[in-house]
């Protein structure tokens, strides 16, 4: 029946969507509720995009086991979903003997967690993998990878959607009532019911708990700022290079991160703050990142900084304690049918497919999960962007569809066809950012200066947009204030 579901998931981040896709393999009805107008609007899109190996977490913790399992599941998942992933490996570099000790500690810990291929390298071997890396020893973890985090999150959602999962985007949960059979949820102007309710609300997970009278969780948003570098510097790094860890820090230290798109990131910083939606970038941190960037990457020029962004880690520990606390993933005894995920910070992205399996098993204890015939776990489309294809492949595609021949975004060389595909996305999201995240248009060095006017024109001519219809990311972020002059007939 309308608005009645077996399972409702709150939060369309990478974890919520991974769970949705896992459950869409079965015959239960599933819906995802999200307060933003698109999926992947919070922590899931605002991070380094690293698929971690699992060396950093204590054996026996959920973070350790889910990370290692998630890492191993990710390759096949990405192949099915046409998401680019690159297992480029990582060097954790020690600068002194004290840090060397921590490398051996990490290696032992990683091996206890089941991380494959770990090796301690001396400077000669380090130099071969990454010239000019510095340091006296390094731990090499070959299973570390990179991925575009929002591409994965969007792909999971689209595949879940293709297999029958319903998405309520732009619906903020305002109240939850436990009933005899399950839950009544008010979201947006809708009343929805479910038998099982899954909280994967990330930064708002503690708030969702409180709606059900669970008051023992608290989320402390911890902001990490990044700078994005011009693709000109692609190739400066062969793999990820991190400093050796120091205890008590909330993150893994400022470092350079390659991305699958070819930009290098500098970051992230660590600053606790009150507001779970304050994605501002600050002058002090930006200056610090620029300084450290010049040290880490001597060929860096001022003109290479193309954009900054920040993300918020949903930490369970207040600033005075710092460090990490293990994920909470529980099927509540006191609130039967409520599966609760709190504090899924790093390595949440890597762990997401493993978390989905774990939650699936919890759901199965509450509801019978019979496999669905006709589940299709693969997504249509291309893993690569058009511009990454060979000239012969490109020529064939243009012959097939002339819209591939027109480049709309000059910097990223994104074609009209790719922009049209992004506009006509299966979830029906209609913001400018949704087009950006799906096509990569507007993500290059001119930041949309050239292509935004063209995309606006496409939306007007082909999709009938009026000036007031253009939204950057949500209903309160209009691009324009109507027409300048009324059209003359």
């Amino acid at each position: 029946m309308e608005n009645q579901y077996d399972v409702i998931i709150i939060g369309a981040g990478v974890v919520g969507n991974a769970i949705a896709r896992e459950l869409s393999k079965t015959c239960v009805s599933v819906a995802v509720i999200e307060k933003e107008l698109d999926v992947s609007m919070g922590t899931s899109s605002r991070n380094s995009g690293v698929i971690h190996s699992g060396i950093h977490y204590k054996p026996g913790t959920l973070r350790a086991s889910l990370n290692v399992l998630g890492n191993s599941l990710m390759a096949d998942l990405c192949q099915d979903l046409k998401v680019k992933i690159d297992y480029i490996g990582k060097l954790t570099v020690a600068q002194d003997e004290e840090e060397v000790k921590s490398l051996y500690m990490l290696k032992d810990q990683g091996e206890a967690n089941g991380v494959p291929g770990l090796e301690i390298l001396d400077p000669d071997a380090m130099e071969k993998i990454q010239p000019n890396v510095g340091g006296i020893k390094a731990l090499h973890s070959p299973s570390t990878g990179i991925i575009c985090p929002y591409s994965l999150t969007i792909a999971l959602a689209e595949n879940a959607h293709a297999n029958g999962c319903r998405f309520y985007l732009g619906h903020e949960v305002t109240s939850i009532k436990k009933t005899g059979h399950g839950f009544e949820i008010e979201a947006g102007k809708k009343k929805l019911t479910s038998r099982v309710l899954i909280n994967s609300a990330g930064l708002y997970s503690a708030e969702i708990c409180r709606m059900l009278g669970i008051n023992n969780y608290q989320i402390y948003p911890c902001r990490g700022e990044y700078l994005i570098l011009d693709k000109r510097l692609k190739g400066a790094l062969n793999l990820l290079v991190y400093p050796a860890p120091h205890t008590g820090k909330a993150g893994l230290g400022i470092h350079l991160t390659n991305t699958v798109s070819g930009n290098i990131l500098i970051g992230p910083s660590n600053e606790y703050q009150e507001d779970p939606e304050d994605y501002a970038c600050t002058a002090d941190i930006m200056a610090q990142l620029r300084r450290e960037g010049h040290v880490l990457l001597p060929e860096l020029k001022t003109a290479d900084f193309i954009r900054s962004f920040s993300g918020l880690r949903p930490k369970q520990t207040p600033p005075e304690i710092g460090g990490f606390k293990d994920f909470v993933i529980e099927s509540r005894e006191d609130v039967k049918g409520f599966i609760n995920l709190v504090g899924i910070e790093s390595p949440g992205l890597t762990s997401s497919p493993a978390i989905a399996l774990m939650v699936r098993d919890m759901v199965e204890k509450l509801l019978p999960l019979t496999p669905k015939t006709g589940f299709n776990g693969t997504r249509s489309g291309m893993t690569n962007h058009f511009h990454e294809l060979s000239n012969e492949e490109k020529a064939d595609l243009v012959a097939e569809n002339p819209d591939y021949g027109e480049v709309v975004c000059r910097c990223e060389q994104i074609t009209r066809k790719e922009v049209l595909d992004a506009i006509e996305n299966p979830l029906g999201v209609k913001t400018i950012n949704s087009i950006k995240y799906r096509s990569r248009a507007m993500m290059g060095r001119c930041q949309g200066g050239f292509c935004l006017p063209r995309i606006v024109r496409i939306l007007e001519k082909d999709f009938g947009y009026r000036p007031e219809d253009y939204l950057l990311k949500n209903r309160s972020s209009p691009l324009f204030f109507g027409k300048m002059r009324q059209d003359t007939p």
Partner: protein
């Protein structure tokens, strides 16, 4: 993939590309192809609907589209081939281009190439503007496109950062359309745009210009709600006591133009740090033989008239190159000295008269530009007003530099 051959390929159908094509054709070259990514020729001039173009070339004040049309008419009457709605994906050092359009992919082998791709605007990200990432932050040129070509009202309460010409033009434009332009803020102690634009676009409309003042933070999670501005000291550091909040729903950025040289770089063309454009000789040939550069992709101009004039020379040079009429004489380096930001061309043959284009580093009065070969003065130009926003040109006669070793250009007060 189909491959075609062309004598001369011009990349870009804006004022530079058009003038280069027209002059090459007039010099007798027939096999010319101009590639333009837009539907129509004219480039950025199409959105510049204000007047003031053509005062030097045509001795009258034209709008951007009018100015462009004069060249488009000539281009078309000369029967030069244009390939619109086509983008150049790559250019190699052997002058092979890969181009893409709705008609398909094409390889073009050119005997000479003229780069005329123009420039792009510096963004909020490029100037590391702190704060939130709301809607309502546009580069001035993108805003000009929305307003002038798409009939879209971009905002009602507008702050402009940077006093580049496009920002000044947009201040007037938005005022005329009923928006309130709160102010223009400029980090530098002097305006970046032309003096006539400061007068005609700001002063005439009582729009305040705050020099040595910049935007230090964006506010508003969804739509822009305001900006924090403050004055800066001589080292461009914020003076904290002067911090204030200016409410606005729109911020336009006019903080500089960057020559669009990605194709040139991939081909291996050597760029000059001072201009971000190619290093050229007095034929406007880059470090790669047969590849020429002109217009805003070479160095950012303040007047389109100068772009056209420069491009006309480049068209002629390309023809001379194709007809083997250029000799590879020893090059004389031209070096900017005291108070000169850059001078162009970066090297000359010494065989022909040449016009040097240059910009000074700071505003000065009653000074002269001097070109010297060692202790010997070879050219001099006296000026009452010298300003970084205004390009200075100085003629050097061949007879004075035949045996020169190195030309040094400086300002003498």
């Amino acid at each position: 993939m189909q491959t075609i051959k062309k004598d001369l390929v011009i990349i870009g159908g804006g004022p530079a590309g058009l003038a280069a094509a027209v002059s090459a054709k007039k010099k007798g070259l027939s096999d010319i192809l101009l590639i333009e990514r837009d539907r129509i020729l004219g480039g950025i001039l199409n959105q510049c609907i204000h007047d003031g173009f053509g005062l030097h070339t045509f001795k009258e004040a034209l709008t951007g589209p009018e100015y462009a049309q004069r060249y488009i008419d000539e281009f078309q009457s000369l029967g030069i081939e244009a390939m619109p709605e086509t983008i150049v994906l790559s250019l190699d050092k052997d002058r092979t281009l890969t181009v893409s359009s709705k008609k398909g992919f094409l390889k073009i082998q050119a005997n000479a190439v003229i780069l005329a791709m123009g420039c792009r605007e510096r963004t909020a990200g490029a100037i590391s503007l702190p704060g939130t990432r709301p809607s309502g932050v546009y580069t001035a040129g993108a805003a000009q496109n929305f307003v002038n070509l798409q009939n879209i009202m971009i905002g009602k309460h507008i702050v402009i950062l940077g006093s580049g010409d496009i920002g000044l033009i947009m201040a007037r434009r938005m005022t005329l359309e009923g928006a309130k332009v709160e102010a223009v803020f400029e980090l530098l102690p002097t305006p970046s745009g032309l003096a006539r634009n400061v007068q005609q676009c700001l002063n005439d409309y009582n729009i305040p210009l705050f020099l040595s003042t910049s935007v230090f933070e964006l506010h508003g999670k969804d739509r822009l709600t305001g900006v924090t501005v403050a004055q800066v000291d001589e080292k461009f550091q914020m003076i904290h006591e002067t911090k204030r909040f200016v409410p606005c729903d729109t911020l336009l950025l006019s903080v500089g133009l960057i020559p669009e040289n990605e194709l040139s770089l991939n081909a291996g063309v050597r760029l000059e740090p001072a201009t971000s454009g190619a290093s050229v000789d007095d034929r406007f040939m880059t470090s790669i033989p047969g590849i020429f550069s002109c217009g805003n992709v070479l160095h950012v101009h303040d007047l389109v008239d100068h772009v056209s004039e420069e491009a006309s020379l480049v068209g002629q040079s390309a023809v001379a190159y194709l007809q083997n009429k250029t000799d590879s004489a020893t090059a004389i380096p031209v070096v900017p000295k005291q108070d000169i930001r850059y001078v162009l061309p970066q090297k000359i043959s010494g065989k022909e008269d040449v016009t040097l284009s240059l910009r000074v580093t700071r505003p000065m009065r009653n000074a002269s530009i001097q070109v010297k070969d060692g202790d010997r003065k070879v050219a001099k130009k006296k000026l009452v007003r010298l300003h970084p926003a205004e390009m200075i040109r100085i003629k050097v006669k061949a007879k004075h530099i035949e045996n020169a070793e190195k030309l040094e250009v400086s300002v003498q007060c």
